[in-house]
């Protein structure tokens, strides 16, 4: 493979890593609805 092909491949991998990072970061920000443990 030529140097250009390797370079494009590297760019694609980097792009995917950035997208994965952003998605994980956004998912971790999602909250929930938490029921407290009421004392009876």
């Amino acid at each position: 493979m030529s140097t250009t092909t390797w370079f494009i491949l590297l760019l694609v991998v980097l792009l995917l890593a950035v997208v994965a990072f952003v998605l994980i970061r956004r998912l971790r920000r999602r909250g929930g609805v938490i029921a407290s443990r009421d004392k009876r």
């Binding site: 909250g31 609805v33 029921a35 009421d38």
Partner: protein, 186 residues
């Protein structure tokens, strides 16, 4: 002014100070008391696209008002360190997220799964019911106090709840009073 909201609508709302107009955080988790039917507090994210969780929490007592578009607090000192906040808010119990819980009657009938929590908000927050994905398809609302137990896996409700599943939030408002009367709580 009182507004009917779901927890999903409340989540991600900005937390804004009344005094400075500063946008200091955004809502992450909604913590409520299933027995008292009240909002206990909120955990927070920092502002910004990449920002993570904020250490401080927001107890319900420190909230000035909750509206459709923002949670208002007097100033940033209203946010509390986890150690100084009530335990339920400062150290929220793990494994108690009700979203996705099965809704089962005490007679063993599965009504659906919990999709969201319905709240009436204003100067304080009151939990009025659960939004569910019904077994037969579509969404429904069941009034609170409906649950006999909440485990983080299943929500066990009285058999009578089956008759009080409503198709929309407006119907839920009327059903809450009727249901409380039937259970002898009103």
């Amino acid at each position: 002014m009182k507004v009917l909201l779901t927890a999903a609508q409340l989540s991600r709302l900005p937390v804004v100070t009344v005094q400075g107009g500063e946008d200091v955080a955004e809502v992450r988790d909604v913590i409520y008391s299933p027995e008292a039917g009240s909002l206990l507090g909120l955990t927070l994210n920092k502002r910004g696209f990449f920002a993570g969780r904020r250490r401080e929490v927001l107890p319900a007592d420190a909230i000035h008002a909750i509206g459709r578009n923002a949670v208002m607090i007097p100033d940033e000192s209203s946010l509390a360190e986890p150690g100084s906040a009530p335990d339920a808010v400062g150290q929220p119990p793990s494994g108690r997220n009700v979203i996705g819980n099965d809704v089962l009657t005490e007679g063993g009938v599965r009504l659906g799964t919990v999709r969201d929590l319905a709240l009436v908000v204003g100067s304080r927050g009151e939990v009025v019911g659960y939004q569910i994905d019904k077994v037969g398809g579509g969404e429904g609302y069941i009034p609170l106090p409906a649950q006999l137990a909440v485990s983080g896996v299943a929500l066990v409700v009285p058999n009578a709840t089956e008759d009080f599943v409503r198709d929309d939030l407006v119907g839920l408002g009327a059903a809450v009073e009727e249901f409380r009367t039937q259970l002898g709580l009103a």
